[in-house]
């Protein structure tokens, strides 16, 4: 049987199915030399220009880089580094529109050239045979070479294949009607390309090297023949011109007669294919130590005055290239990146050239109508002519695919081997109904891929959900077990009758006593709160004077603007309180808690927390939080008094009793606290005193205004400065900020104070209870203060967990 090589030598080639002959437009550019690279004002270098992962950027904004300097390194085999195409400064690293049909943005490095074009240090290696294979591969990888034919597959992955290679095929077919970039590269640089082929030969040691080139490139064929004249295992295969003979699978079929099965890489058949431009880049990288920073781009189309091939730096905006070729921008025209068959329209002309960009097409409206203009042809119904199936090089059924794609029948699409479609566009080209078939396939492909991802994700989520359910089950069982054991152990100890048991018993008794005390306190609070409402009513109703008085105090504590509002609203507030009290008269003993509750609900975060406390789920949290509330109430109230006696001359006589307590506490504090905590406490206390001075007003204000006021007071706390009032007036910023600050501040202060103060608190608790019993007025003020403190404490609740430890301590010492 005749071998493949013999057959090729005879000049006979196999055929792939289908294919089309679109009108040749290569004459526009194929006879002009490649114009040299010019440096644009700005280079936009996308970090990912290939198939695979993006590398990590290793330069910063403001860095000066030299030409050829590496900009991103790669840690996985499927990522490819990028390099500075010229010397200059990195002016930005940001999202920019990239050359992709979607017009979406991805991370790009913006390089402003300094026009000096200074190279980095290069090590020229005239004889690559001196290098080991690994060194050559490393050089290729470091030069950032990815397939330059269109797909952008990382080259070092392709050339480091381990399988035995029979054929190395160099793809010079270039079948797209307009593109001549490879043609020109062959005409001008075939020796360098040959060096690249030799390097590949050295790396892959194929039995044969086939260069596939379409017969319409006479000059390039001549140049190639001249260069390869003395090498006998390289065959130049001049193949008939037919689109898409440049497709990988198609060219393999033409040259070797082998059909690459669906879902199989050519390398498993012992075939590796490289583009000529890639060969050139490999030679440049290995011999001249030049990374892939420029490429030949065909700038063509009838809308250009002088269409030509240009050496373009990677990152050059296409607008710069088209203006170099005399593009008339005045008319409504569009640009296509890639060829007319497989390219895509660009959203604007500031899209950069990347490693895979082989053509910029600026067609006139007659040549190729813009898909976005009104003159573009309209799709009509399929007439079932079957021409698409005749031309399909992958032997698919485009018409069936189209129906299934429209019906989103993914199972059917996969059955029809949608993923074997190479998106060559031949079917759409011949379609008499002008159906954009390829577009439907692309959409369907994207949807199927997405669906597969979702399926994988769903499967993962399911597994995790099940795992979690199991874990919860296990934990529940373990917890029950633990409780049981603990209970048994306790019982056993109780029964032994030792001293330890006694102490434990007494501890239980203590706890019970504490609970009782708490209850008693709560009932007192309720009673006094009721009184406080009536008394405050009296207070405000008696005359304007007390209100004025309190107003001035408010002014010290909260925003001055708010204070005015209070005066204006005093009357209304009294009325509203009246109604409130009337409404609540049947259950007036509960009025106070309601009031407190309302205040507690002022803050969103706090409300949530309290609500959550009611859920059984957060039992432990709520316990500690409750303890915390009590604690803070007790902490803050003496402080209130303390500061009131020290700094606020306008403190009411109700606070006198508190002053005594405060004195005692102050003494204890002086002993126990460090300077910082003391000052912190003083600050908090100061703010709290302001709270207490405003309390009558707040008591009066039952409506939403209270919310604002309390919030502002809270702000004052948050600010923690003696000049609080002034600051407060400025604060009207985002709620979240305030919340966070309040929470943070309150939490900080308390976290520091509480552990130290457990002793004093137990003192102050008893004294505060005493004082409550002593005088109604005192209690009223106290309640007011407690309420304020309560608000603050509820803020702290948000941090309840963090304080769990200290609050526990607190309860015990109490």
């Amino acid at each position: 049987m005749e071998s493949v090589i013999e057959r090729i030598k005879r000049g006979s080639f196999s055929q792939f199915h289908g294919g089309i002959h679109p009108p040749e437009q290569k004459f526009l550019t194929c006879s002009k030399p490649i114009a040299s690279a010019q440096i644009p004002e700005q280079l936009i270098i996308p970090i990912r220009q290939h198939i695979g992962q993006a590398g990590n950027v290793i330069v910063k904004v403001g860095d000066k880089v030299l030409k050829g300097q590496i900009l991103s390194d790669c840690d996985s085999p499927m990522s490819v580094p990028i390099h500075a195409p010229t010397s200059g400064t990195i002016t930005a690293i940001k999202s920019m529109a990239i050359p992709h049909p979607s017009g979406l943005s991805e991370a790009c490095i913006i390089l402003t050239p300094d026009d000096e074009d200074t190279w980095k240090q290069r090590h020229i290696c005239p004889d690559f045979h001196l290098l080991s294979k690994t060194q050559i591969l490393e050089k290729i990888a470091n030069a950032g070479i990815s397939g330059m034919g269109g797909a952008g597959f990382p080259t070092q992955v392709k050339v480091s294949t381990l399988t035995k290679i029979n054929y190395l095929i160099i793809n010079a077919a270039e079948c797209e009607p307009y593109i001549t970039a490879d043609d020109l590269l062959l005409q001008e640089h075939s020796p360098t390309i040959l060096d690249g082929i030799k390097i590949l030969d050295h790396l892959l040691t194929p039995k044969n090297i086939l260069i596939g080139i379409e017969e319409n490139k006479a000059k390039a064929i001549a140049a190639l023949k001249k260069a390869t004249a003395d090498i006998d295992h390289i065959d130049i295969c001049v193949i008939p011109t037919k689109y898409p003979s440049g497709g990988e699978k198609q060219l393999i079929q033409i040259l070797t007669g082998q059909e690459v099965p669906s879902g199989v890489l050519p390398s498993s058949l012992g075939i590796v294919m490289q583009n000529v431009a890639t060969c050139f880049a490999i030679a440049d990288a290995v011999i001249n130590d030049t990374p892939l920073i420029k490429r030949v781009v065909t700038v063509s189309g009838q809308a250009l005055e002088k269409p030509q091939n240009i050496w373009a730096l990677i990152g050059t905006p296409v607008g710069f290239l088209t203006s170099q070729c005399g593009y008339n921008n005045s008319q409504n025209r569009h640009l296509i990146m890639g060829g007319p068959m497989m390219g895509f329209s660009l959203p604007h002309d500031q899209i950069p050239v990347i490693k895979t960009t082989n053509c910029i097409l600026a067609p006139s409206e007659i040549e190729i109508a813009s898909p976005f203009s009104s003159t573009s042809s309209k799709e009509v119904e399929c007439i079932r002519c079957g021409q698409c199936a005749d031309v399909c090089p992958a032997q698919l059924l485009p018409q069936e695919l189209q129906w299934s794609a429209k019906a989103k029948d993914q199972a059917q699409l996969e059955k029809l081997n949608l993923f074997d479609c190479i998106e060559c566009g031949a079917c759409a080209y011949v379609c008499p109904s002008q159906i954009p078939l390829v577009h439907y396939y692309r959409v369907a492909k994207a949807e199927i891929r997405q669906q597969k991802l979702l399926d994988i994700k769903a499967e993962k989520a399911k597994v995790r959900f099940e795992a979690r359910k199991q874990r919860l089950e296990r934990e529940k069982v373990a917890r029950v077990e633990k409780h049981k054991k603990a209970a048994e152990a306790r019982k056993a100890r109780m029964n032994t009758g030792t001293s330890a048991a006694k102490s434990e018993k007494s501890a239980v008794a203590d706890a019970l006593a504490r609970v009782k005390a708490k209850k008693a306190q709560a009932s007192i609070k309720q009673n006094t709160a009721e009184i406080s409402i009536t008394s405050t009513l009296e207070m405000t109703a008696e005359s304007v004077a007390p209100a004025d008085d309190s107003k001035s105090q408010v002014a010290n504590a909260i925003a001055r603007a708010k204070a005015k509002k209070i005066v204006q609203k005093n009357q209304a507030q009294i009325e509203s309180l009246d109604t409130l009290q009337n409404n609540e008269s049947p259950s007036s003993s509960q009025a106070a808690p309601v009031v407190i509750d309302k205040k507690a609900k002022l803050d969103l975060a706090i409300t949530k927390k309290t609500a959550n406390e009611n859920t059984p789920q957060a039992e432990t949290i709520s316990d500690s939080a409750n303890a915390q509330v009590d604690a803070t109430t007790k902490v803050v109230s003496p402080e209130v008094v303390n500061l009131a006696s020290v700094s606020d001359e306008k403190a009411t006589q109700a606070l006198n009793k508190k002053a005594k307590v405060a004195a005692a506490i102050a003494k204890a504090k002086a002993k126990a606290k460090t300077k910082t905590t003391a000052s912190l406490a003083a600050e908090t206390a100061f703010d709290s005193s302001q709270l207490s001075t405003t309390s009558p007003n707040i008591d009066v204000m039952q409506d939403s205004n209270t919310a604002a006021q309390v919030k502002n007071v809270a702000e004052a706390i948050a600010k923690k400065t003696p000049s609080g009032p002034q600051m407060v007036s400025n604060i009207d910023t985002a709620d979240r900020d305030q919340k966070t600050k309040i929470a943070a501040a309150a939490e900080k202060a308390k976290a520091k104070e509480l552990p130290l103060k457990s002793q004093q608190i137990s003192n102050s608790t008893s004294s505060s209870i005493k004082s409550e019993q002593d005088s109604m007025r005192a209690t009223q003020a106290d309640i007011a203060a407690i309420k304020k403190a309560h608000v603050a404490a509820v803020v702290a609740k948000a941090k309840a967990k963090k304080l769990a430890a200290s609050s526990n301590k607190l309860t015990t010492s109490e």
Binding site: I98, H100, P101, S102, G103, L104, E106, N329, S330, Q331, N332, R333, H334, L335, S345, P347, H348, D349, P371, F372, H439, R442, V443, K445, A446, E447, Q450, L453, L454, K457, A458, E459, K460, A461, K462, R464, F465, A467, R468, K469, R471, L604, A605, K608, K609, N612, Q617, A618, R736, K739, T740, A743, A798, K799, K801, K802
Partner: protein, 184 residues
């Protein structure tokens, strides 16, 4: 006489066939409900509970037992269509109680606001939140199903649902949506 014979014959035949069917019903007893499994495979597994069931599996079981098929908001129209196909019933529009927006989302914790309360961790059905008491939490984006369940428990509202950004990787080839700048 012939009437009695007729009745007898029919009666005996009926008894015979009845016995046969009785035997068959024992012999071919169907165990379990493979339908629920299949339904479960169709559901998006966000475990979001928007259907009113604690997870996708319980909803699948409920659908197998006659629950409405249109309660899966994250799955949207596509899922309803698939369930309808499997169940052999008519496609229904998504239940009105659910918001129609089922664009893919992931939760995001504003980390500077997080107070480390672990409430969201307890709420997450797929354990996609890492963090511990008093430590900042964060979402494992790859594992997040966008179910929304962690948003409500957060006491400081620091969890947001962010739409998954369209990238070149998951772009759906919607050419009409490209912002085209006229070149002129």
């Amino acid at each position: 006489m012939s009437t009695i014979i007729a009745i007898l014959v029919l009666g005996i035949l009926a008894a015979l066939f009845g016995a046969l069917l009785g035997f068959a019903s024992v012999r071919f007893k169907v165990q379990g409900d493979p339908l629920a499994e299949q339904l479960d495979a169709l559901l998006p597994q966000t475990q979001c509970g928007q259907c009113g069931y604690p997870g996708c599996k319980p909803y699948a079981e409920a659908v197998a037992n006659g629950e409405a098929i249109n309660k899966c908001a994250p799955g949207g129209e596509d899922t309803i269509k698939k369930i309808a196909e499997l169940m052999g019933v008519e496609v229904q529009p998504l239940d009105e109680n659910h918001e129609a927006d089922n664009s893919p989302k992931v939760a995001f914790i504003i980390e500077e606001d997080c107070i480390g309360c672990t409430k969201c961790i307890q709420a997450c059905p797929v354990d996609a939140i890492i963090g511990t008491t008093k430590q900042m939490h964060t979402i494992i984006t790859d594992e997040c199903t966008g179910c929304d369940l962690c948003v409500a428990p957060c006491p400081v509202d620091c969890i947001e649902m962010i739409s998954v950004a369209t990238t070149t990787q998951n772009w759906q080839w919607d050419l009409d949506s490209i912002p085209v700048v006229k070149i002129d």
